[in-house]
């Protein structure tokens, strides 16, 4: 059995020691590699020895907890620790990457050698010795997760479960999924940057299932922030559960949705996932740099209606998509992507910024040390407009009113997207009428942003998990909007 070359090779990696000091790890061996700048300099130098334009080292530690309650029982409690470090070399358009889970200088030197394979025979730069950098933080924590006893997590879940079941006798089951984690990062690169930080993340999900003997509906409500336990004072477990239960009951009366092209009013909040998919992904610069993205060559052009302004902002206080600095060390910032219909910016990482000769926008993110950074969204939203949501609805003769979406996806090259509605209603004569069963909405990104003709004044955000070969935590935000003419996949002709 080859357990990574044998059991107990190294002492507990010091990266985690400061995170888990309250958890049973005792005082650790000497100063850790994460603070040994001379050692990190040696690793970076090794990575660039064969050639290359840029190299970085990324060290990460993560402690996570997940507790699951199903059918009023605590099904499982999970506690996980993971740590590792990766070395990356960029040479021209090429990237080499290797990682190790045992953070020793020897292993990092070996990773540097593997990563440098892509730079063989390339031109070489001399790395700058690293020095501690400063980045602004947009996350404040009042009740740190590590001070919270598990019994308090359990209590939050019991409260949510009870509130869901008390809402209506037709709520047959609640699934409560509590997640928290603390991620610590150290970034060092050949430009001389050295940064470290630690971010907590709370994610609380309530799903409820209603059943009236004929129909069933599963709904979902989620809250998430980079926050301590105070999140549950801002939004109580009861109100999260009641929001899920309300949808479960409302949708029991759903009828088949109609099929074909019609107008759609999207309620504010996580409907923002429409913009995340349909416009956000195609504005990530990696496919633009490859010359195949849907928005390739459209910078400065009018791509949307004048009411449409879109922003990605990694600095919104404590938001789930907020990052302080990205996983390449670039300061998070507010990036204007589309301004009154005109394309103003792409979201870049270091590689795509270099390839496109653009500035770094702070969107180089990675799921963990097992992944290379790629351009990703943070908190992406449509800027609010002038109309009240009531005005937009009243002004819509017929169509579909979408209140929540299960999720969606887009092909960033063709720009064709889809979303699945979870809670939706018919609009008849400017009024919301009866609920309709989960229908898919599909269209093309260029089509949808040139068809948004009304934007409300009620911007709200929802938390999401975005997958692009690797996961990233994001929010999507949107005021109420109306889209003229979108294809609705109902089963009624």
């Amino acid at each position: 059995m080859g357990l990574k070359g044998g059991i107990a090779i190294v002492a507990a990696p010091p990266l985690l020691s400061h995170m888990v000091s309250c958890s049973g790890f005792t005082a650790n061996v000497g100063p850790g590699l994460e603070t040994d700048k001379a050692a990190l300099d040696r690793v970076i130098a090794k990575a660039l020895k064969q050639g290359g334009d840029f190299a970085d080292v990324y060290l990460e530690g993560r402690i996570l907890r997940q507790i699951i309650m199903e059918e009023s029982r605590f099904r499982s409690g999970l506690y996980g620790v993971s740590q590792g470090a990766g070395v990356r070399v960029i040479s021209g358009d090429k990237t080499g990457y290797a990682y190790t889970e045992e953070i020793t200088e020897e292993n990092l030197m070996r990773a540097a050698e593997v990563a440098s394979y892509v730079a063989r025979n390339g031109k070489s730069i001399t790395p700058v010795n690293i020095a501690e950098g400063k980045r602004e933080s947009f996350v404040t924590v009042h009740k740190p997760l590590e001070d919270i006893a598990d019994s308090r997590r359990i209590e939050i879940m019991e409260r949510a479960n009870q509130a869901a079941l008390d809402y209506d006798p037709r709520i047959r089951m609640a699934l409560i999924d509590y997640n928290d984690q603390v991620r610590s990062r150290v970034i060092a690169n050949s430009e001389g940057l050295y940064l470290r930080d630690e971010l907590p993340l709370l994610f609380f999900i309530v799903q409820t299932m209603s059943d009236d003997g004929t129909n069933r509906h599963m709904s979902r409500e989620r809250i998430s922030e980079h926050s301590g336990f105070e999140l549950f004072e801002k939004d109580t477990p009861e109100s999260v559960a009641e929001r899920a239960a309300r949808e479960s009951i409302a949708m029991l009366d759903a009828e088949d949705a109609p099929a074909g092209t019609m107008d759609v009013v999207m309620e504010n909040g996580f409907g923002g996932v429409l913009i995340h998919e349909a416009v956000g992904h195609p504005l990530e610069a990696d496919n633009i740099a490859k010359g195949i993205g849907a928005f390739t060559g459209k910078m400065g052009q009018k791509v949307a209606t004048e009411v449409f302004t879109m922003v990605d902002d990694g600095t919104l206080p404590n938001f789930r998509g907020t990052i302080n600095f990205d996983d390449e060390g670039t300061q998070a910032q507010r990036n204007l992507l589309i301004d009154k219909g005109v394309l103003k910016g792409y979201m870049t990482d270091i590689l795509s910024a270099k390839q496109l000769d653009l500035h770094r926008t702070g969107n180089g993110r990675r799921e963990s040390f097992r992944h290379i950074p790629i351009p990703r969204m943070t908190n992406t939203f449509i800027e609010p407009g002038e109309n009240t949501p009531e005005e937009i609805l009243a002004d819509t003769r017929s169509g579909i009113y979408v209140q929540s979406l299960s999720g969606g996806s887009v092909n960033p090259v063709t720009g064709i997207f889809n979303f699945t509605c979870r809670e939706a209603y018919m609009i008849e004569n400017g009024r919301k009428t009866y609920p309709i069963r989960g229908a898919t909405l599909i269209g093309s990104c260029m089509g949808v942003i040139s068809s948004i003709d009304a934007v409300g004044n009620d911007l709200a955000f929802g938390p999401g998990i975005c997958g692009k070969g690797q996961m990233a935590e994001v929010t999507a935000g949107q005021p109420t909007v109306r889209i003229r003419g979108i294809n609705v996949g109902g089963s009624r002709g």
Partner: protein, 428 residues
């Protein structure tokens, strides 16, 4: 320490991914990883913990965390670990040749594949080609005396290209995954298939909203079959969250529908000697000529249902608890060629691409985005995209009226071409 039952799940793996684009290397990523997950039962309560550090102190701390959690969770008499049952080895899970191939050969294959996919002049851009390989060793031990291990390998090539014409862009993608390197499909065939998927979609036309036949290509069968599999997940059935919860031994689909799960196929991508908690894998008919014959269970769900585990505990690695999943799943082939099905379709959609979540396992509702070809008078008329298709599982599954013979058993989730006689199609 108070644990009544303990399971140790260890996974060690090694992966390499080479990506090329525009005739040059784009990324090379290598990783060796491993870790351990502890599942602990204390008086029926379950705790789970994992770490990727095999240091004694980390292991002890991690195990203690699982025990602490087990004391907090609700006692459940169905929380048991499986007994040590003998299992059958599966032939052809590990190919030592893959790791021995030189790096230059792997890069060369990705480059060659990209070149084949770019050969047709209608293909204007490459999104990249890749070669991937992985091997993994799994060890499961538990306090009922179980100690089991197996090793597996896989290799993979894939390519994605773009056909651009004016403002139109169409993507085409093809891949091949095998346990053994020698079983890989010829690169020329894979490249040509990717190119065809892109250029054959050029100049799509819209059709009106209507009801018509839909022919499901094997590539999109999952949107239908995936919903059935999720709906016969034993856990979901016990929770009442399945549209098939009351369908056991009932006719719920066309007589043409037979679905088998086979864990033991030689060199199968989904094959394994035992499931994610060490229960022997087997071969099981889930649906027989339209009649539901079996739900899928792991140990916990089976105990709760009062039956035996079907050996379908899935595991997402050492960081996750056992769920429920299939091994090599296939929908049994029928008598027709795909060409016969097309020729017998007056008007309808040959479905090549779908988006969305497939059949909703809770209530059987189906709605998705659709692309492919429009059929008139038994012949392909033109490409279509931006359509929707929808229906209820009940209608769709009972209306499967033709089943083809083009079943590719090299895939771990596979179906032949089949036709649904009528579905709602949304268009202009």
């Amino acid at each position: 320490m108070g644990a009544r039952e303990v399971e140790v799940y260890i996974q060690n793996s090694r992966n390499l991914t080479v990506r090329v684009r525009n005739e040059d290397i784009e990324t090379i990523q290598e990783a060796a990883a491993g870790g351990v997950g502890f599942r602990v039962l204390v008086d029926g309560g379950m705790g789970f913990s994992h770490c990727n550090d095999f240091n004694d102190r980390s292991l002890n701390d991690t195990l203690e965390r699982a025990i602490a959690f087990a004391r907090l969770t609700t006692p459940d008499e169905h929380n048991r670990l499986p007994d040590d049952m003998p299992h059958q080895e599966v032939e052809g899970l590990y190919d030592p040749e893959i790791a021995r191939l030189p790096m230059e050969k792997k890069i060369g294959m990705a480059l060659e594949l990209e070149a084949y996919a770019m050969k047709d002049e209608r293909i204007t851009h490459s999104s990249g080609a890749s070669f991937g390989e992985g091997e993994s060793e799994i060890i499961i031990a538990n306090s009922n005396g179980m100690l089991k291990t197996y090793r597996s390998s896989s290799c993979y090539v894939g390519v994605s290209v773009v056909a651009e014409k004016g403002d139109q862009r169409h993507t085409g993608w093809e891949s091949c995954s095998r346990r053994f390197f020698e079983d890989m499909e010829p690169l020329e065939k894979i490249g040509a298939a990717a190119a065809k998927k892109a250029y054959e979609m050029v100049d799509p036309r819209m059709v009106s909203t209507q009801r018509a036949a839909v022919i499901f290509d094997p590539a999109v069968a999952r949107s239908i079959v995936g919903g059935i599999i999720a709906a016969i997940n034993g856990e979901r059935v016990l929770q009442g969250a399945s549209f098939l919860k009351d369908a056991m031994d009932e006719v719920f689909a066309s007589g043409l529908l037979t679905i088998v799960d086979d864990g033991l196929r030689r060199r199968g991508m989904g094959s394994k000697p035992f499931d994610g908690e060490g229960v022997p894998a087997g071969t099981r008919t889930l649906v027989e000529e339209g009649v539901l014959r079996s739900f899928l269970y792991n140990t916990h769900a089976a105990l709760r249902a009062g039956v035996e585990s079907t050996g379908n505990a899935s595991r997402g690695g050492f960081t996750s608890l056992p769920g429920i999943g299939t091994h090599n799943l296939y929908l049994k082939a029928g008598p027709h060629t795909p060409e016969e099905i097309l020729a017998n379709t007056q008007r309808g959609l040959l479905l090549k691409g779908v988006t969305g979540y497939g059949i909703n396992p809770v209530n059987g509702n189906y709605s998705g985005g659709a692309s492919g070809f429009w059929i008139e008078n038994g012949q392909i008329s033109h490409p279509v995209q931006g359509l929707t298709i929808a229906g209820s599982a009940d209608d769709i599954l009972r209306n499967i009226d033709m089943m083809a013979d083009d079943l590719d058993m090299a895939r771990s989730f596979t179906a032949p071409t089949f036709r649904v006689s009528e579905m709602q199609i949304g268009g202009a």
